[in-house]
Symmetry: C2
Subunit: 234 residues, 2 copies
């Protein structure tokens, strides 16, 4: 089945490093859904204002697509320290037969008549800037909520948060919302499960900023904020 | 983006008429996920036994696919009586730019080593027998549950159930689970929003049975159960 791109997301995540591993975790990160020419029709969103959340079906477009014959049945989820293998269909890993992602985000606002619009403003997206979108569906509480659902091996996220300590004054010149988003982002420890270096200076891009940090134990120290420093790597 | 079919569903819904309009409504309806040859690998499901629910991404394969240029920005949801138009992205209508469906179903069991397996047995699927499946993802409670989400125009489903009265003895020769599923299916009034005839004799196929019924007011009367009568229409 061929899917056509209907929209893309404009987010502050400029590279894969640092992107939260599920939607809704970094609530203060906002993003904008921009429709492609053919789908730029305000009436296609009529009624969406009565819902608070949407599902986005999107593409893992920066993942090297494995050949159909080369898919791997197991992956190593970062939640398990990157050491244990699980079946790909028991994970949300991007390395799956069809590179399609599923995220639930909250609607912050809809601007039907903006130039270049309609736009949907959302929070909690876990998608790289420019990610292609293939479908948008309303979150329907009576069908989509499963309060008794079992969690599998992905433990309660709140148990795993790191502490974040800000040790540079520049951080406080950022907008409040960006500050909150950056802290939420660092609390979830963006470092790879395979390589967690103590005292190493990491940098994570968020919007126009490169946030430099290092980790000691379960504390993330924000050391420096550099502006306008993102150059996409090839 | 091209998606490859990884599996298909074997369900008791033999035609579109009667299929519940969201997943999870007809809980007693069970179905089986069967993998295509290339994806028939037990290890791809390792760890799934720790989850209770999965998302299925599937194709509306029996919907006449509109040409890319011919998509319609609005549809008339059956919940609104089929009269009011809503934007397609504010609905789960199958008539959307990309014919991809999203359903949450409960796992009843997983048989890794059956001949022709692995199989996943599920309840609550809202998919036609033979529907192609493109992805299976675990339902992750901390990311997927949104207890405060707003419901839009799709009112609380339980408010809308019809009463079902059985008036034929044959019905009680069916298996208990099928009886429950058929009643859940009729409670949600399978008739088209556009044409609800009083006293008209309808038939809905479920598994090997054709359930004949008519409706008066908000009561559905089961009149007759015919066995082995399904012939797929062209």
């Amino acid at each position: 089945m061929e899917l056509f791109q209907i929209a893309h997301i404009e987010s502050k995540y400029k590279e894969k490093f640092g992107i939260p591993r599920q939607s809704g975790i970094v609530k203060h990160s906002t993003a904008k859904i921009v429709f492609e020419d053919l789908y730029r029709r305000p009436e296609a969103l009529s009624g969406l204002e009565d819902f608070s959340h949407i599902w986005i079906l999107w593409g893992f477009h920066k993942n090297d697509r494995k050949k159909r014959e080369g898919w791997t049945p197991t992956v190593r989820p970062p939640k398990l320290g990157g050491k244990l293998r699980k079946g790909v269909f028991a994970t949300r890993s991007p390395n799956r037969p069809n590179p399609i992602g599923l995220s639930c985000v909250e609607i912050l606002g809809i601007n039907l008549n903006a130039q270049g619009g309609p736009f949907i403003y959302v929070s909690g997206a876990d998608m790289l800037d420019g990610t292609p979108i293939y479908d948008i569906k309303p979150f329907i509480p009576y069908a989509d909520n499963h309060p008794d659902a079992k969690d599998g091996f992905s433990r309660n996220f709140s148990d795993m948060r790191m502490n974040v300590v800000v040790q540079c004054r520049d951080f406080y010149s950022l907008e409040e919302n960006d500050r909150k988003a950056i802290i939420e982002l660092l609390e979830q420890d963006p470092r790879s499960a395979y390589e967690k270096k103590e005292s190493f200076e990491y940098g994570v891009f968020y919007g126009d900023y490169n946030i430099k940090f290092h980790v000691e134990g379960d504390v993330v120290y924000i050391d420096e904020v550099e502006k306008n420093s993102f150059t996409p790597s090839k």
